[in-house]
């Protein structure tokens, strides 16, 4: 509406428009309040606290950049935890997306059972970072757990405690992360349904096999969805915390000390909340950097149908 048009509105119409706007704000009011109180305000406070020495039991004292300096120069576990987190992200995310896509492809067919399977495969994701699932996972992967019992039943002598063996501990966490692929799977499924069947029919007429159809039709048309899933999962992957804390608590000799867990430990166990806030902002910068990388690269590999001129 241009300004002239708005001025030409009758007062009654303008009032109604304002009321509509007001009602709109009322509806998003709860979300807005929660966002301000639990996201925006803590966001700003944590930035301020990252320049302070704050042990939570007394008022914070200003220390300038020393938290950041200590983080980059004096902290051995900072590099360790970053390394663990990078390993986790660059292994678990591609695997999770691959599984999600695979299952979405399988479920993308007309069948009465599909809605049921959709629910079944989505169920693990709802349990998400839940404590109960992590505790159960811990028992499953322990020396006397279900995994070992199952492997022994089919003849593989498996006696390792998967969660306390230094080589496999991180993999038990990665496996849990991959198991909860429901969310990207549903998004892939909806993306698959948007691909017009006519493309596939045309390809079949031209004699294209299933693999060719996948790589030439499905994958290119799915790239916007892959892009979205990649960004969202990456952000979540960098922040993985509760699974690492409950299943391995940083793992045998810090093999599973993910960044968020180390941050939590510094803030609460060592009473260095200011230091933890500095760590949080460093994490945000890292996530932002990788997200930017993905965005910048997207023009090279993401294909939007509506961009065809």
């Amino acid at each position: 509406m241009t300004k002239q048009n708005q001025a030409a509105l009758s007062p009654a119409l303008r009032r109604r428009r304002l009321t509509e706007t007001g009602i709109g704000y009322l509806f998003i009011g709860p979300w807005l309040i929660c966002f301000l109180a639990f996201s925006l305000v803590p966001f700003v406070i944590s930035f301020v606290l990252s320049f302070m020495d704050y042990n939570m039991l007394s008022a914070p004292t200003f220390v300038g950049f020393s938290n950041y300096v200590k983080l980059f120069t004096g902290d051995k576990l900072f590099k360790t935890s970053l390394g663990v987190t990078f390993r986790f992200v660059f292994i678990a995310i591609p695997l999770r997306l691959a599984f999600a896509l695979l299952v979405a492809l399988i479920l993308n067919r007309q069948s009465k059972m599909v809605p049921l399977y959709r629910v079944v495969y989505y169920l693990p994701s709802i349990l998400g970072g839940s404590v109960a699932v992590s505790v159960m996972w811990r028992y499953c992967f322990s020396k006397t757990g279900v995994l070992n019992t199952a492997l022994q039943a089919i003849g593989i002598a498996s006696n390792i405690s998967w969660i306390s063996n230094k080589d496999t501990a991180l993999w038990s966490l990665i496996l849990l992360f991959i198991w909860q692929f429901g969310s990207p799977m549903l998004i892939f499924l909806s993306g698959l349904k948007q691909i017009p069947k006519s493309y596939y029919e045309a390809a079949e007429c031209d004699g294209a096999g299933p693999l060719v159809r996948f790589f030439r039709i499905t994958l290119p048309l799915l790239t916007p969805i892959i892009f979205f899933n990649l960004v969202m999962q990456m952000i979540g992957g960098f922040m993985v915390f509760s699974q690492a804390m409950i299943i391995t608590d940083g793992g045998p000799m810090n093999r599973t000390l993910v960044y968020a867990l180390y941050l939590y430990r510094q803030s609460f166990a060592y009473y260095k909340m200011g230091y933890g806030c500095a760590m949080a902002w460093v994490l945000m910068t890292i996530i932002g950097f990788f997200t930017l990388l993905v965005f910048r690269s997207s023009s090279a590999w993401v294909f939007y149908e509506n961009e065809i001129k």
């Binding site: 939570m56 007394s58 000799m253 009473y271």
Partner: protein
Amino acid sequence: MKKIISLVLCAAMLICMVAVSSAETALRVAWWGGQERHNQTIEALDAYGAANNIKMEYEYTSWTSYFENLATQAVGHNLPDMLQMSTTDIINYSTNGQIVDLKPYVDSGIIDLSNIEEGSLSGGMVNGQLAGFTTGTNTVTVIYNKKIFDQAGVAYPSNEWTWSEYIDTVKKIYEATGIQSDIPFLSEARWVVESWVRCYGYNFFSEDGQSLPWAEDEKVLAGVAKAIQDIADGVKAGYFIDPEIQIAWSTTEENYIVQGKSAMAFLLSNYYGVYCTALGDELGMAMLPKMDDGEKSGMYLNSNMYWCISSNCAQPEVAAAALNYMINSTDAAAVIKTDRGISLSSEVRNFLATSKDTDAYTANVLNYVSDVSGVVAAVNPADPAHSAEPISVLKNDYTAVMYGEMTAEDCVADFVEQATALLPN
């Protein structure tokens, strides 16, 4: 009409809410522990609340989340009135003014010291203030399965045994029966390293809490490294339990010693009763072995934990009276027994020692701790501020040696280096 009804209902609801939060004496008590401790503590405090017409509100959790909860409550000036406090955090809470000095309540008689030696309160003193009241003393012990020893034909450990004798015992039992022993204090290496350091006459932390007094003494460093190496060699040879297995134990039942699969384990003495009950049999208790070239026993007494009163408590006298009940009352002691350590009150100790209801396990712990008191000079002070991180480093490095990832010398050197960097304020 509808508007009037809804207004009336709202008003009624508000009145009800106000009525509920009327001025009844209420006391919020917080502690950490396992389910057994929760049950016992609630039983004891319920009885007190009923007898004194106080509404008790309980906030209890497991150890792992207790201090995070407390810290967030501290930020909101909303700490519970009476709280259980550990040796590692008491100095922090006291120097930051979150818990109050208990001396005024001692002086005014609310907290009764007539059966308690004033010297035994030293563990809770911070900068001249009585920041926390020690709930009881505890110490470290080696628990051993007598039946396995009999089976192997090995003599029970004596309280004066040396480190070499300990290693020999482990080996002999393994060779005779194939049963391993627990790695000493894999879950918290500090407890065993402290006993080694004390054999040479040093305290673990310096008096001002800014350094390790033994960091420069080559003899001590070598002795500690050798002891760690002995255990690591034992892991490789197989007579100590695989650290991968031991590190995964989290509940009492998962420990091999209560399943009869381990000959010896190092333990904090206040858990003795729970372990015996889980095993279903009486375990032996011995003092920790002395270093071969040490000058004395490495045993030490700790304040197990403290009861403190928060600075935002509105009615500290009520809290102090409840605190006094938990410390001095034989009724409370009959329920809680030695779960929070051996009481400082001689009356309670005598009561537990002579009461018909006291089981053999409690009696064993009482006798053991009094034996240790005969050997040790004084109760340890609380851990210095900033000590949590170095202790965590020691635990990690010790575990790394057991996994074969680090040499014992590097472990000791790294711990000393990091402690020296992290301890000073």
